[in-house]
Amino acid sequence: MHAGAAAGPGAGAVRLARVETVPLDLAAHLAAVEDDTAGAISTFIGRVRDHDPHASAPVVALEYSAHPDASAALRGIAERAAAGTRAVVAVSHRVGTLQVGDLAVVIAVAAPHRDEAFTVCRAVIETIKLELPVWKRQHAADGSAQWQGLGG
């Protein structure tokens, strides 16, 4: 399944695309994109940070929830990013309550050359931000909580 010999131009593929309730594992994503055609692997990690311009105090946790179709939507996002390329993609988004430093998103993209690996990886995270039906509520150290993405 990981043999690259038959993979011609435009044979981009998604090997992992999932919304997870358990901690994300970068090594599992690197293993998923292992491919003899790959001369480059680009990774992206989205983490919970301790501050936010909209928070009234230091951020202590993010509470993520997802639409029931979110895993399918994530696969579609990855497939569109890989279409027309030779990149192979593994991507996961975590849901549940995450503490500062926990991983919210992990992406690994392998491709014959670095430009394609970077470009596809960037496309996946940017499209996740716009289109993945996931929500987060930010909890601050003063006990306040705010839904992200809602203006006002």
Partner: protein, 77 residues
């Protein structure tokens, strides 16, 4: 009757995962939801309303709709 599901901030504002509604258009549904769930007033205008999986405008009919999702702005990543 149409099954209406609420997510994230909309779920919190209504206190409901879902309910059955009888409105015949999306616009009427939006008005009815704010009337019945005042907590939605500040956020419903920012929410997408998906009818059987498709984004539609307020004139869209709900006569044959089975499932409506009320989706606050996405905030993944």
């Amino acid at each position: 009757m149409t099954r209406v599901r609420y997510f994230a901030a909309a779920l919190e504002a209504t206190g409901l995962d879902e309910e059955r509604r009888g409105e015949q258009t999306v616009g009427a549904l939006r008005a009815g939801l704010v009337a019945d769930h005042p907590g939605l007033a500040g956020i419903l205008s920012q929410c997408a309303v998906l009818v059987d999986g498709s984004r539609v405008d307020d004139a869209a009919s709900l006569a044959d709709a089975e499932l409506v999702d009320v989706l606050p702005p996405f905030a993944g990543g």
